[in-house]
């Protein structure tokens, strides 16, 4: 009771502070008033503090089993171990909105506080945009979807948590993804602030680029953990299903990937200002649009979010943000002219733009596929596309991007000299060698060009990591190549498991064996573990090893079964066994052999490591603006 009141009061205080901060900071920006701006900033920090208090109240209510709160009853029960209990915080609609607001206000405050050197107006306007967004979320939390609503009757226990979500992956995957989603607001706020302040100098690019990298990295980790969870828990042998919920998480990530590349063109050459702003704004609008789509129930997804009344609110927010950003962009369009024109299409700038075109094409194609049921429903029969659509469209685009990853970093800034193609000797040599080896090794079909291009991309990335003098000062370049290498490793994993997955479903009698892709698995034992959560398991021996696949039954939930997949991972392949049906005299299992899946997780780790390494410490020295012509090859 007290917890609920305290939480509700903290939310209300946060709303008042955020609204106050938005108005005051806007005023300070217009009047160039440093004192008012400071008050506005502090109001935002105080608002963040209020959101932290509200979050602490909800977390306390969950851990303390305060079932008088509807949210606690609906999302937890007494049997949950405390880590899962703590994670029910972001398990439902209201809690995940509160979590979103928490990330927005805390990271937003930190970003504003760190932007002190960018000038009063830029800082004040960034505070305005962030505080206004925080006020929107807090208003929804206070008036529409409060996590502190009380039940009339206090139940003795809660409804609990669905068993497939009772897994460690669930503890870490949603908070990263939600944090990624909400932190796309911060680069957006800085982009808008620079427009409002009429500033297009390197200062705001450095700020925006860093906060965009933070959001992008959080989203990278969230997406990877989501794939990892789907692979280890759901038992379908895959990790990405092109479901609408997955697609909308991918879209802002793709748009930000485009931005962090072309931001360098602006940094070094003062070009593509309007383009970059468009990408930052687009990424944030895609994040809000995605949230609206999956929360409004407009699309049929295998992930069901609680469909609720917050859909129209997000739609309204989307409309306001779109009108606001387009208005400000149009108003300031004259200040967005490039300092100088692009000199040549065959240059680093040209490569970045081509990469952007491919990424935007990918965004458009994925968005089209996701929206097809809605769009076609408006004009006639509802149509829908499945994974094969996305694979056929994205495959060639991803391949072109990898080709660019092999060639682009070797092109010089401004304009390539006549012999630019000589710089390509390294990736071309690697590609030729790989092509010969693969062809001799018997690789045919689409896998042949894909792995050839991957070899070229790997060659360029590895060569970029060779030691040079002043390595620490060049850490941004090293970080970038390491991140590229991570992308290549990840792509090898995706390509390997896509082209060479083997799947077989068999029913075995005790002692009987099955051979799948060179592995012989023998059904050696059947067992049952009774208990509150009953479990059936079968042991399969494979050489000296034994794999135990199981099915758990949750009697309290209508006998819902949960597979416990057995996975034996090596660097080359995963043997992945799902138990479909078992009895002492037979076992039906599906055996997948998934080549190179481990490379996906390793690649994502290398990618994030590269980003961290390249941007650690004080603001990494931004590369010297290029004036003189750079010799070939420039790496």
């Amino acid at each position: 009771m007290i917890t609920a009141s305290a939480g509700g009061a903290a939310l209300l205080a946060g709303l008042a502070l955020a609204g106050f901060s938005a108005v005051l900071s806007a005023w300070a920006g217009v009047r160039r008033d440093a004192v008012t701006a400071r008050v506005g900033r502090r109001a935002l920090y105080a608002g963040a503090g209020a959101v932290v208090l509200a979050s602490a109240a909800l977390e306390w209510a969950l851990l303390d089993h305060q079932f008088e709160l509807a949210y606690v009853t609906e999302h937890s029960d007494r049997s949950l171990p405390w880590p899962l209990l703590a994670s029910s915080f972001y398990g439902g609609q209201q809690g995940s909105l509160l979590y979103w607001t928490l990330v927005l206000t805390v990271l937003g405050s930190a970003a504003v506080a760190a932007a002190g050197r960018s000038g009063v107006r830029l800082q004040a306007y960034a505070t305005t945009v962030l505080a206004a967004l925080a006020a929107f979320f807090l208003a929804v939390l206070v008036f529409v979807a409060s996590p502190f609503d009380l039940l009339e009757v206090t139940p003795s226990d809660g409804l609990g948590l669905n068993p497939i979500l009772r897994d460690g992956g669930m503890l870490i995957h949603p908070p990263f993804l939600l944090a990624g989603f909400s932190s796309f607001a911060i680069p957006f706020a800085f982009a808008m602030a620079s427009l409002l302040a009429g500033r297009q100098d390197p200062g705001w690019i450095a700020q925006t680029r860093r906060v965009a990298l933070v959001a992008w990295s959080l989203q990278t980790v969230g997406l990877t953990l989501g794939m990892w969870w789907a692979y280890h828990v759901l038992g379908w042998g895959g990790y990405w299903g092109w479901d609408p919920v997955e697609n909308v998480a991918l879209l802002p990530w793709l748009a930000t990937t485009a931005y962090i590349h072309t931001a360098q063109v602006q940094e070094r050459r003062g070009q593509l200002k309007a383009w970059n702003l468009g990408l930052v704004v687009g990424a944030f609008l895609l994040a809000i649009f995605g949230t609206f789509l999956v929360r409004s129930g407009a699309l049929v997804s295998v992930h069901t979010f609680a469909v609720s009344d917050i859909g129209p609110w997000f739609f309204a927010l989307l409309a306001v943000l779109l009108a606001f950003s387009l208005g400000v962009l149009a108003w300031r369009s004259s200040s967005l002219r490039s300092a100088r024109p692009l000199e040549s299409a065959v240059s680093r700038e040209g490569a970045f733009l081509l990469q952007n075109f491919l990424l935007i094409g990918l965004v458009a194609a994925v968005l089209w596929g996701t929206l097809l049921p809605l769009l076609s429903g408006m004009v006639g029969a509802r149509r829908v596309v499945g994974p094969s659509y996305y694979e056929r469209v994205s495959g060639p685009l991803f391949l072109a991007l990898l080709l660019l990853l092999a060639a682009g970093p070797l092109l010089p800034w401004r304009r390539a000299g006549r012999g630019w193609w000589r710089a390509m000797a390294w990736p071309a040599g690697a590609a030729t060698a790989a092509l010969l080896l693969l062809a001799v090794g018997g690789v045919r079909g689409a896998a042949l060009p894909v792995f050839t291009v991957l070899a070229a991309a790997a060659a360029t990335s590895v060569r970029g990591l060779r030691p040079v003098a002043h390595a620490w000062r060049s850490r941004r370049v090293y970080g970038a190549y390491l991140a590229h290498l991570g992308v290549v490793v990840l792509a090898v994993g995706i390509a390997g498991s896509h082209f060479w997955q083997t799947e077989r479903t068999v029913t075995l009698a005790p002692g009987q064996s099955v051979a799948v892709a060179g592995h012989t698995l023998t059904f050696s034992a059947y067992g049952e573990r009774p208990g509150a959560v009953g479990e059936q398991f079968v042991t399969l021996s494979m050489g000296d090893e034994s794999l135990q696949a199981a099915r758990a039954f949750y009697p309290g939930l209508g006998g819902q079964a949960v597979s416990r997949v057995a996975i034996r991972s090596t660097a080359l392949e995963d043997v992945y066994v799902v138990l479909d049906d078992a009895a002492p005299d037979h076992a039906t299992v599906t055996v997948f052999v998934n080549p190179l899946v481990t490379w996906i997780w390793a690649g994502a780790a290398i990618l994030v490591l590269g980003i961290l390494l390249g941007n650690l410490g004080s603001v990494a020295p931004s590369p010297v603006p290029v004036r003189a012509r750079v010799a070939v090859p420039a790496t």
Binding site: G92, L161, L165, W368, V384, T507, L557, V562
Partner: protein, 124 residues
Amino acid sequence: MTWMRIGGAGAVVAACVTYLVWSAASGSAEYYRTISEVHAQPVSGDVRVLGVVQDDVQRLDGGQEVRFTAADSGASMTVDYRGTLPDIFKPGIQVVVEGRTGGDGVFHARTLLAKCPSRFTAKA
């Protein structure tokens, strides 16, 4: 000149993406049908149908095949599916099946997706 080349590259990418989207969508787009629509107007090609699994689930062939009745707004159809079932498959849940009606009047599903229970919310 430079901008024309870059614009040209952009136009080529846009044309390629349009072609890819068009060819992939016409090759793999399926129609959403309700169960009563499946009965009323048979379509050539696969369709996607949403239905609730009824209590008559039979497992055949050592659990590798399953046959059940799917119902939605008063209409129902028999569905036959061979393959791995999702963990949460049981009477009462919503499934999306993709496939076509055979000559035997049974809907032969090529894929079967179960709608995940609401995130973190248990439904007994």
